[in-house]
Each structure stands twice: as C-alpha cells, then as structure tokens.
Symmetry: D2
Subunit: 467 residues, 4 copies
Amino acid sequence: MDEKLKEACGVIGIYSGAEDPSLGRTIYYGLYALQHRGQESAGIAVSSGSGIDYHKDLGLVSEIFSEKVLDRLSGRIGIGHVRYSTTGFNNLSNAQPLVVRYKNGYLAVAHNGNLVNAHELRYELEESGAVFQTTADSEIIAFLIAREASNDVVEAIKGCVNKIKGAYSLVMMTEESLIGVRDPNGFRPLALGKYNGSYVLASESCAFDTLGVEFVRDVEPGEIVVIDRSGVKSIRYRCGGKRSLCIFEFVYFARPDSTVDGINVYRARLESGRNLAKEHPADADLVVGVPDSGTVAAMGYSAQSGIPFGFGLIKNRYIGRTFIQPSQKLRKLGVMLKLNALKAEVKGKRLVLVDDSIVRGTTSSQIIRMLKEAGAKEVHVRISSPPVTHSCYFGIDTSSRKELIAASYGVEEIRKYIGADSLGFLSLEGLIKSTGCGREKFCTACFSGEYPLKVPGEGKKYLFEKC
Amino acid sequence: MDEKLKEACGVIGIYSGAEDPSLGRTIYYGLYALQHRGQESAGIAVSSGSGIDYHKDLGLVSEIFSEKVLDRLSGRIGIGHVRYSTTGFNNLSNAQPLVVRYKNGYLAVAHNGNLVNAHELRYELEESGAVFQTTADSEIIAFLIAREASNDVVEAIKGCVNKIKGAYSLVMMTEESLIGVRDPNGFRPLALGKYNGSYVLASESCAFDTLGVEFVRDVEPGEIVVIDRSGVKSIRYRCGGKRSLCIFEFVYFARPDSTVDGINVYRARLESGRNLAKEHPADADLVVGVPDSGTVAAMGYSAQSGIPFGFGLIKNRYIGRTFIQPSQKLRKLGVMLKLNALKAEVKGKRLVLVDDSIVRGTTSSQIIRMLKEAGAKEVHVRISSPPVTHSCYFGIDTSSRKELIAASYGVEEIRKYIGADSLGFLSLEGLIKSTGCGREKFCTACFSGEYPLKVPGEGKKYLFEKC
Amino acid sequence: MDEKLKEACGVIGIYSGAEDPSLGRTIYYGLYALQHRGQESAGIAVSSGSGIDYHKDLGLVSEIFSEKVLDRLSGRIGIGHVRYSTTGFNNLSNAQPLVVRYKNGYLAVAHNGNLVNAHELRYELEESGAVFQTTADSEIIAFLIAREASNDVVEAIKGCVNKIKGAYSLVMMTEESLIGVRDPNGFRPLALGKYNGSYVLASESCAFDTLGVEFVRDVEPGEIVVIDRSGVKSIRYRCGGKRSLCIFEFVYFARPDSTVDGINVYRARLESGRNLAKEHPADADLVVGVPDSGTVAAMGYSAQSGIPFGFGLIKNRYIGRTFIQPSQKLRKLGVMLKLNALKAEVKGKRLVLVDDSIVRGTTSSQIIRMLKEAGAKEVHVRISSPPVTHSCYFGIDTSSRKELIAASYGVEEIRKYIGADSLGFLSLEGLIKSTGCGREKFCTACFSGEYPLKVPGEGKKYLFEKC
Amino acid sequence: MDEKLKEACGVIGIYSGAEDPSLGRTIYYGLYALQHRGQESAGIAVSSGSGIDYHKDLGLVSEIFSEKVLDRLSGRIGIGHVRYSTTGFNNLSNAQPLVVRYKNGYLAVAHNGNLVNAHELRYELEESGAVFQTTADSEIIAFLIAREASNDVVEAIKGCVNKIKGAYSLVMMTEESLIGVRDPNGFRPLALGKYNGSYVLASESCAFDTLGVEFVRDVEPGEIVVIDRSGVKSIRYRCGGKRSLCIFEFVYFARPDSTVDGINVYRARLESGRNLAKEHPADADLVVGVPDSGTVAAMGYSAQSGIPFGFGLIKNRYIGRTFIQPSQKLRKLGVMLKLNALKAEVKGKRLVLVDDSIVRGTTSSQIIRMLKEAGAKEVHVRISSPPVTHSCYFGIDTSSRKELIAASYGVEEIRKYIGADSLGFLSLEGLIKSTGCGREKFCTACFSGEYPLKVPGEGKKYLFEKC
C-alpha cells in the first residue's frame, strides 16, 4: 500500500569520556530521533573497555529495547543503528551493528549506504576463505578491516576504504575508540556533535537536538574521524573529490528539522514548492499537501502561487506494525484507512495536490479518486521532484526499474493513470535550485541516470542487502 | 508529559441484514477510525442470532485483534468500543462492550459519556441485591434494563433512560437488534449511516468515510434508534429539550474530518483561529501551531492576521506504548523527544504559537523554552479556547480542579508561568461563534462552570469510571 | 490426544493476621502445588482491608503472574484458584476468583465443584432482574449471597447454601474475613492448615507441604469456616448427613502426596493395584505403568503378584501449551511424541500394562500398538478402577456419555478395540476397599450411576460451566 | 537450585530424497525428542537446493517454532540443533545451526561437543584475518572448512577434522548433501537411521523412535558419513583408534530409551543400581529414587538388595521457564516447590535414597532434610556413579572444579555436609561393568582425571562456548 522509496539506515555513535550508566538510553533516544530512516530493525552496541555487548532485534526502537536491556547497555563508547530491510528470510542476521572479534580485538560496525563493488569483494573474500554469515555490506567492511596487516585499527580502516566503492557513512567502535567514516562522494550524511566533553556522530542533526547535543560540523566526504582518549582526530583520506550528496534526502528522507551539509531540509523543501509553483502554475482554489511528505512543499507552492493552503486530507496515525490489512472484499477501503478527505474543505474546489514523489502511482490514484468522491472539482497534481526513472545503488530501495512508473511512462500517461486533471513534476534544475547549491554537489542518479560511480547491473543489485 | 484532556470513549454498531463473515473486520476498521477517542482498551461484540461472542482487551485496536480473532467475530449484528481509562487496577474488567445475559436473553452495551447519578443508582441497585463486577457506568445501564418488568427490550430501555442522568451516547445490541440511544442533552455525538442495506451507528462521521458508509443523520438528543429485521425505528423519548453538545469536541476531541450535529469540525477549528486573531492580534513574523492539535487553528489565525503560517515544530510520530520515558537524569529531554523546533524557520522571528487549550501548563512552558533556545525572538501564545476552569462530569477526564492551572491562576500568572511574551485565550463567545451556532446548543461547563445538569461533588466523581 | 477425565478446579485461601507483602507470592506457590487440578486459567485476589485487587488470566500459574503483578498483590487476606475449563468462547470471563461489589462491600469467590440446580437458580435470578456476565457457578453463588437480607456475610452465606445444590468447595473472602464452605455431601476436598498465626484453606494437603503449613483438619461436609480478627469460627450448617466424597480423587485427580478426609492418596492407589492383581491376575513377565497416572497402581500390582515392576514407557516432559500437533500426514506419530516404549525392557516379554482408567480408549490402543511394535509378546491391560459408565455432575468433565467407551461397550468389546491380549477392570468393591473406608463414604456415580443427588438431564449439564 | 551437570547439545539431520513440505515439522519433532540434551536455544536449517533458510531462537523447541515458521521450513535437506548454553550476553548469536556462505556455497553446521584446541585455532584464524561473530566452536569448524583449498566439501571437511581436536559429533548440510562427522574418540553419540528412502542422523536413537525411523547403525568414531543424490557414502578418516565414549551419557544425559554404541541406556542404568547395591548395601526398609534421574538405578538397587522400591518423593512437573523463584523470605521453600516427600510412604522408615550423581551437594542436603522432616528414620544415600572430581572439556558443563564438592572433600565430609546417615558412591569399575563393556571404551575423565586428549587449563576453558 505504501509506495514510498525506502531509506536504508540511520547511524549514531557516542564517545563518553567516562563510564556512563545512561549510555544505552542516550543512544536509544538518538535512534528514536532517527527512526524515520529505518523501521524494520535496530541495535545498540556498547563497550566499557573490555569486549562489546549488544542488543539488536526486528521492530521499532520503542519495541526492541526494554528497561532491563537498556540498564545493561552502560559503557564508555556506544553505537546504534536503525534499518529498513528488504523482505526475505533471516532478516535478523542482517540487523546492525555488526559486532565481531578479530585479531586486534572487538569491532562493531554500523553502516548507512550501499557498496557498488560488494559482489566483487565478496567473491574475492570467499576465494581467500572468508565465511559470510549475513548478506549485509557491513560484514564485508569488517572482513576487509580484519585482513589488513596493520594492528592499528585506523590504518586498517584506511586500507579498507581503499577497496570499497559506493556509498558509506560508517559509525564504528573498538573497545577504545569511536570512528566515523564518510565515503569520498559523501552520498549519505554524517555529522559530528558534542556535549559535556562527549562526542556524538549521527546521520542527521535532528538527533543532536533531541539529545541536547551541540552541532560541531558535518563529517567531510573522504574523511575518517577518530575519537578516543586523546580527543578527536581527523584523517582526510580522499577529501576534495567529486561530491555526490543524495538529493533525495532533501526531497523525502531527511527530517525537516535537520541540516545536511549546510542545507536546511525544511527550507529546501519549502523552496522546492515555490519553484514547483513557478514551473507548473495552476488555476485552482486550494493547495493541499499529501500528509506528511507533501505538506511543506505544498506550503511553498501556496506561498508562491498565492492560492490558499489548506488541509484537505486527514491522516490516521494509529496504524501499527500489527495492523491487519483489509481482506480482498474490504480492499476497496485501501488508502482511506490511513487518509480521509476533508469534504468540508475540498468540496466544490479546484485543488492543487502536492506530493514529494511518485513511485508506482497507485497511492496517488487512490488519493485523487478519494478527493473527487469528496467533491473536489479538479485535482491538479504537482510533484516536488522530477520523475524517478532510475534505480539507486547508493542506499535507497527503489525496487527494480520496472516498478518505477516513470521509467516506462511519460508524464501524460502517468497523469491518465492516476486520474489527475493535470500533472507537473519539478524539474531537476528546479529541485537543485531549491537547495541553494549547484548541481555538482549532488547525486541525481535516480532522476537523471547519471551515476557518479560505475554501478553493477540491475540483477546483481538484489543479491545483497544494502543499508 | 502529555497534558491533554482525555476523551473517554468512541462507539460503533453495525446491523447487517445477513450473516457477514467480515463483520468483525468492518467494526475493527471503524474502531480504528475512532481510535483518537480512546487508546487504552477496545472491544468488539457480535451475534449471529444466538448468543453474543466478544473479544476485548487493553491496548490499541491494532494490537488487540488478531486475524484469528477477527475471523471468529462474524455475525449479523455487532458493536465496538474504544476507551480511554483512568489508571488503577482491574482496568480490563471495565473494558467494553459489556456483554451480559439476563431474563430476556443477551445484551451488549457500549457507552460514551458519564452518568452524574451513578453513585445513587449503584447504591439503590446494591440495596436491592445487585452485584457489580466492574466500576463502569455501562454496568448500571445493563442492570437497569434487566430490572424493568417489560420483556420488550425497547420498553426496558425507555425505563432505564428515565432513571439515568448525565451524558450517554449508547450503542447496544441484543441477539436480534441494534439500538442507539443519545441522552436528552446530546452531550456526546452519535450518528446514523447506511450502506448496502446495512445500518451503522458511530460516534463520529469520520468512521463512515473510512468504511464507505453514507451519512444519514445525527441521532437526536433524547432519541432511541432501533434497527432490526423490520428496519429502522425511531423513538423520541425526550427530544426537544435543552441541548448541551460538548463544545470541546470542536476544540480538540473530534477528528477534523467529522461533522457533528451539522457542524464541521475542521471549519469550526479554522474559524476559532480566525476569531482568536481578531480578539488577540499579535505583532509577529510567523504563526506556528503546536502539532497536531493547534495546527488548524493556527492556519485560521494566519489567514485572518495575514501573518504567514509555518511549521515551527516537528513531531516525532514513532512513540509507541512501550516507549521508555527518560530517567531523572535525562528528563531535561522532556518534550523534545516528541517535538523539535525548526531552527531554520523560527530563528530570529517573533512567533505566534497557537494551541487548542492549556491544562496544566507544563507542556506549554517546555515548548516555549525550546522555541526560544532555537532562536525565536518572541513567543506570543494564543489559545483557541477559553481557560479550562471547571471539571467535566459528562465524559471527559479533566483530572481534578486543582490540576487545572486556570482554575487557580489568572491569564497574566499563566503567561509568566509558561514564559510567553504574551498570552491570549479565545473568549467563550468567540469559540461559540466559530461553530456557527448559538450558545444554547452547547455545554460549556469546563469553561463557564454552567453545568446543564446537577453534578455530584468533586470527590464522588472519582469513585466510578466514566466513559 | 489426551483422553483423561478433567478435574475442574483447585482453590486456596490465606488469612494472614498482618499485612504481608509476600501474600500474592505465597498463594502463587500454593496454586502451583494445586496446578494438577486445573491448567487453563488461574487467578489471585487479595485485600488489605479496603477493596479487593485481583489478577487472573488464561494459562498456567507460572505463565500468568509476573514479578510485578505478584509485588502488587500484597495484603492481609487472599484467595486463589486454578481451573480447567471447557473450550468455547469467552473463557477469560469465567476465570476465578470472581470479585464483586455488592451492598455489604467487596466479595471474592473461588469455587471447586458443580451446582446441579444452576439452571433453576439462574432462571429465578434472571426473572428477578439479575444480570449475568459469566457462565460460572460462582456468579450464581455471589448473587445469592448479595440478595440475602442480612448485612452479616456469614448469615448471607448460610442463606445461600440453603439454596444451592450439588458439589461445592468454596473459598471466599471479604475485606475482613476468609471463609471456607464445603457442601453437605463433601464431594470435593477442602482442608484447613496454619503457620505462624496465619490460616490456610486449600483443596489438597500437598499445598500445605509446599508452603510449610501445618495440616489442622479437613473442613467437614456441611461446614462453614470463618477466619477473621477473632480467630477461626466453625458453623456446621448441615453436617452429619450422607457423605459423598468423590472416589475418583483417589483414582486419578488428587496428588499422591495428599491426604483427603483421612485417606492417603498414594496408599489408596498402591492398594488399588494390589486389589487389581488379586481380582485380575496375569501370567506375565513384567508390570508396566502408563506414566504418570498408572505408575503407583502398577507398583501395587507388582508387589501383590510378584511379577517384577519395570519402566516400559518413557514420557517426554517438554510438551508445552504452544506445542504444535502433528499435521494429518504426521499424525501416525500420535502418542509417540509423549511416550516411547523401552524396547530393551519390553522386547520378548509378556506385559501387564496398568492404567488408572479408560475413557475413550484411543490412547490405550495406541500405547498397546507401540508396545507390540517394540517387541512385547503379550499386553495384558489392567485398569485400577471400574469402567466409567456415567457422566459426572459434581465437578468433573466426563464429556457426554456417548464419548465414554464403557457406556456403550462391554469389557470384551473394549479389549478388542484397544487390541489387548486380556483386559481387567478393578471392581467397585475392590476400589472402595483400597481406600480403607466403606462405600457409604463415597460418590461412585461415574462407575455406578448411583447419583447422591438428583441431577439434571445430560443436555442441561452443558449449558453452564462447572468448576 | 538445580545442580545437575548440563549436557551441551543435541543434533539431528534429515536427507529426504524429494522436496518435503513437512521437513521442518519432522525435524521439529526430532528436536523435541532430543530436548533433554539442551533447553536454552534451538534451530532448524533447511534447503531445497538453492540457499539455506533457517530459524533459531532462545527457548524450548515448542516455544520457538510457530506453525507459520514450520510451514516455511520445507525442503529436501535439513538439520536441527538444541543447545544448553552458559549464561552471558549475546546468547542468540551462539544459537545453532550456524548458517554461512563461503566460496563453495552455503553450509550449515550443528555441533555437539567441545574443541580442546579452540583457543589456538581461533588465534591462528584471527591472525590470518578471520572475523568471528560468535563464540561457538561451530564457527571455527565452518571457517576451517572454508579455508581448505579443495572445492569438494568432503575433502574440505577432511582437512578440517585433521586440525580440530576434542569432542565433536557434527551434523552439517550443504545445498546438496547431508554430512555427519564423529570425532576419532567418539566422545558424543551419533546414529544413522532411515525411513521411506530418507536418511536421518541424530544424537540419540530415541529420536528415531519418535519419528518412526529405523535405526541403521551408530556413526563410527573417526567416520564421515555423506548422504546425497548418490546415496550414503562412508569415509573412515581415522577410525580404529582409542575410543572415549562419554560414560556420563549412561549415568545421566542420554534418554533411557536410547541405545548408544550398542549399550542400552536403561539397562546400564538399572545395572548400575544393582552394582551399587552390591558395593554399598544398606540395612533399610525402602529404596527411593530422586525423580527422575535416580529412579531407574533405584529400581536396580531394590532388585539386587531385595529392599522394596517405593516412591518417596513426588515431583511437580508444571515448572516452566517463566516460573518465579521464591524471594529470600520464602527461600526456605527451596526444593519443596519441585519435590514433596510422600509422608505416608517414608514415615518411620529407614530409606536408601538413590541419585545419579552429586555435583555441589546442596540439593541432596535439602532433599534429605525434607525426608527427615517427613518422618524418615534414616536416609542412606547411594549414588550410581563415582564422585565427580574433574572438569569436563568434551561437551559437558561441569562448572569450574571448585564448585565440584568431590574435588575438595572426601566421602565422609560430603556425607556430613548433606546430612546423610551413610553415603556410598558406585566405584568406577562398578559403573563400567554396568555398561557391559570394558574401560577402554570410555572417557571417564570427570571421575578419574584421565583425559584422553591434552586439555587446556581451567581458565581457558571458559573463554569459549562449547556445545
């Protein structure tokens, strides 16, 4: 039913100078703030200097951790992970952080991204005797670190990042240090914060706000940050290259209260609505956003166009994991379980309906039908991003290309399919402009097909789990 | 942490001419649409003509009912209930519907409201040998019906409603009929709908939309609606008296996509924001609503005042029942777990912060502090209802009067307590005007202390569970 | 698969002079010792003098009560109940103790037995306006007590016991007293114990041993025991009549380490095996008991006959409630999941197989087949009680008569059906003799059809839940 | 409270020529029959020829697998594992089977035993870049197989078994074959069976009986059995050496209805009781076994001595995993929760109390006290095995030596500690004689300190999990 693209993961790490009985809890609240980046599994690993304890399971952060478990997870250093995983068997073994023991002691790895050469690396590692217990990229990363000759973990990490290609924002820990790594393209966000002499790494700055942590700076693409007893050390192993920050973070994934690489997500989203109004004006009475993803852009559209903004759709927020989907006979209920049209607001009106993206188009068509049944005279759909035409190999689950409606159909065909009176997508230029930055800063592959790195074929993409 | 007034209950009933294997599921989706009216327990009772089967438990609708249970709950007639309950032991025994067997067969009762003479009725019933197994008003109602001499259930219900006083929107069922009752004052809503020859009673029209049911009309205050093999029969046992529809349904309880007694909730809420702007204008840069309860009024304020509307607060929607509250040491996180200020939007601005009501004032003060820490220059608080100064005896949990900040303090004192730069409450006249109806239509007791019925003392109120 | 007759219930009550934080726990361990009397639901109710708190649920004692719940259940007086319930809907509402509020305050009732005039009493009560929320006899009992004119609970109980007929061992509590009642026939056991100034009532003395409680005496048939601040008071309301202790308690229900009305269960069971050997000798090599119910009688048979006793069957004790029964295709596994023949012991031997009773005969036939497949040359079945030919109306679930193989078939037909080489049942005289008491002491209705009280027809028996 | 030595694991594997939708269920029932070998975690892995699916979790077999999971686990080849695990964090990651992917495809490993050179092997593997995710020996085994040059899994297994030392009965599977391996000493049992063209490997023959499988033979020490499309192939890689079958399997671990390496467990246990009576006669009235472990030997003692056998102790079988242990104040209840003395049987008698072993001595002392309080005049303790004086390094959890009472104290001291009137342990010779085999066949290290292989120091033993 839900046809949104899926973000793969969120990561967090804390280096607390001294033993902290609340360490597990603090990471728990941090993960809770990052829950939008992955709702299928979560985990926390901690160390007090000797060994690494951890707990991970399938489910939401609030379902996985009990008081008893959080009490156990005290320590000086800890990392956490939330994950959206593709369905299939053995999901639990792919939950992160991955905690391993190798020649230099214990290591825990939390990964957000997707390696494009995972297939080759697995093959090489297997050929030399490696044994894989999961299908997660983080296992490849741990294996490569373990196989480096150096006994120095930072040297070993340097060796590893010379081999892996693709998107990776990593938060790792040994029994003595917290380490953050961002790939040279900087596909996925990673930020550094501090409070009370502690240091925090997190996927998004919104986690800092929740924890009362002061934002210090973004980790740079191609940078390794090492935090230990001697403080924060930065190793810029391949900085200064081509940047490829995922532009979809601003369209949908990141929380509006986060600021990523200097770009405020809320402002970018509001601006995308403004630009959408410029590119695709409409003769209408009311601007309505699809809650929650289209709301901010809808406000921007309204502000630019002068057409009033209103709530035309009400979202039921009580759906939980165990919610029972309607049987065939009741299937017509469909989207209405989650959304209801506000008849009083939409009746007799010409609407601009703003959403952030269209993936398969089925949800859009249901919403439009519902609005028309509620009395809307016209529904002009405006999408605050370009058509998604290509698969992502850098940490987003776009499903296969054939499920992307825009990969096979043009705008007019999509309009007909969803039953809109008109349909307009924001241009890629318009989207880029909304961020206030230049095109060279972003990966726009899902819209443009211009992959910043060589990617494997469609088929191979689904052999392994990304995150 | 959450200081909202609590609605007590939501009810639904379906009369499906023929045996319907999906009856339980249909009620399930209806309850899901009414989940905002009660999140602590839920239940469904059904009959195929011989006996009444039921399932009820503590928790959200989506947590309580499994596929297996819903498959079991097929039938021709069914009712459902969601409930907010006060804490205390033995909650489960108070979950509804209450299903009983008495001289005329089986009866199931689902109640939304609160009897003001519960204490006296219980005493009388006990004196004549009655044995209570719960503390719910619905048990009193069932007992009174059972003690009527008549073997005709409708006659018995008439006898019962002549004895009970207070607020009651009842949905009841026997093995052969579905019955709806609304008290003569019409404190709580109750509406009638139909589809495919089936009839539906529900607390709010939003449940009809979810189920694809056509709204027929509101049940009238003082009306008994009986639906059985012979169709819909209406008994107006005490219609035409003083109406006392709870005005707080429009301030906070009812879903914006519902229409209650002809008043659209969304429109009333939007209008209350407009009237608030007229009564308490502010010299500011941005209007921000406290999500979700203040958002619609904030839009109205913005529309009236011309001050732009913006999202200044982001709400984290992943908090579940098992969420672990921060320990003392991490308590300062407080509200920030659920809400985060949008720095990019509020920094340097003078804000109008709109919320629907203030109960204890603690949440407001935390939100204001958060906004100021995020850089807001000024925070002008505007409340889209008058100060809550009196306890409710008609189905809302207002806690005791001493917990109501406005019962003890004036506006200026509250302003200081919450740390606002200015504070304005909508007047009762303004609120009433927002509904488009006259004062005579409403119960305004929580704001005015004018109780439409004689109420028991504060103490007695807490002896029994209301719903 | 399991074709044993089902005991209906076990009860316990504790009067602890002073507030006891461990009261709930002590009752928990007592119920655990009585778990063999009912495994489908359990409950504990306690009072510290004001109101009665309780917790009850479906499942085993060890599954139902958490540390948190037991910590809550502190108090001065408490009662507990374990129950075997017939399947059907709404089992939970029939779980006991039943806790009610009536004109004289709170009352909790735990019942072991079955009223034979339940149908008439319910009709009368309903006619006078009573509303039933369960189908348990304990509800009738509570209603009758509540309707007595007297404000003195003991007087009211006296009034009640003059009306109810059948089997009832009751443990009840008010906020101030613990009360035990045993029906005038004494169908079901009930014993009184004491420790440290506390008094305990329990279905069987084995619960006293577990709790370190000293056995004082059995409650007499027709006696009411009241324990309160002033000590233990005995009211013999109809003592001295015809005794009808259920003889099946000695055949199967009671734990071997209990002593009921002066008869030690282990000794009676051992003696029944001896008498069985006298009545039905066999030319065999080994005596084997069906674990666990036939083991003690098998030892008696061996001792009397001189044929060695051996373990020919091994029982797997890890089957739990959630155990998945074999699907049709794997059904042939049948009994073997729970039992396995000890080939090394039975191969080539002529066996005497001793069990306590035969109900439907299916289990016996599977066991015999298994023993023969394991190499047993002959299997001579000896049953340590007479054929079960009649339904029980006094607290045992014997199913309907048509499910009792011995109600329709003679010994030789049963022998053929189960595939035994010979079959012998202990005579009723032999069974009675095993107890060391005379026939006049027992109810033997399930074997003899001689009901000590007038019983309702087969049909009516299943209208209501017994316990 | 429970002071028994803990068996580490049970294994099973099935090769079913054709795809079998019931494969998971069949393994489930097989694991259920082996549940006595490990109650803390269980798992099943299956393959239909492409990849290996699995499910494993903490808990009893009946708790871990739902209908839904078993339906998923269809296939042609499958293995299962039950495990007793030492406490500590991350138990779940040590649950088996371990399923991995390596250069030659998928491999699943289920292990019963304990490697004595695990420490050295881990060090070597880590030095060459291996990354460990568990602390189980099965991971070492999988790694060694993966590092062999050969692409033939059997060749690789041969290479692996040349490196590992210690106790290992392995059941492994690839996508195409089922493989059983038994270490050259044959410490742990492993048997081969067949039915309907399918082959089964299992720790004990009792699993064959449950599944209706025909016993073929024991896997020989030093033998690899490979079952695939071409049938059963046997590779005797180091057969014919010193045998060291664990003699404790006959004392306590194995189920009495199993036959291990030609020795029937029930007969050996019965014989040990006879020999015990010869070595340590007693002047007594009744022989009582501690249920269930001492019962069979008690019967042997009775048969040899002529002293009657009786049940002096009743065991409560309803204790489950969630059972709440008595708090300090109620601790005196101790053993009595599980066991109760049969006063009627033991009062005034001189008892021989037979148990299989004494580990810490605390349980024995509680039982003796209980029997004396029940009236036993004398309690003569007879143990059907020698004093346990040495730690086991071959798959049994004996705790550390200092917890073994017999490692520090002589027989007379132990007698005093437990409060027995006399105490006799069966001699090692007597125990060996009971099996009908010679000393050269067994490992007797826990009694004699004669380790068949060089073992690591006490300290190292606890670094890794055995199974």
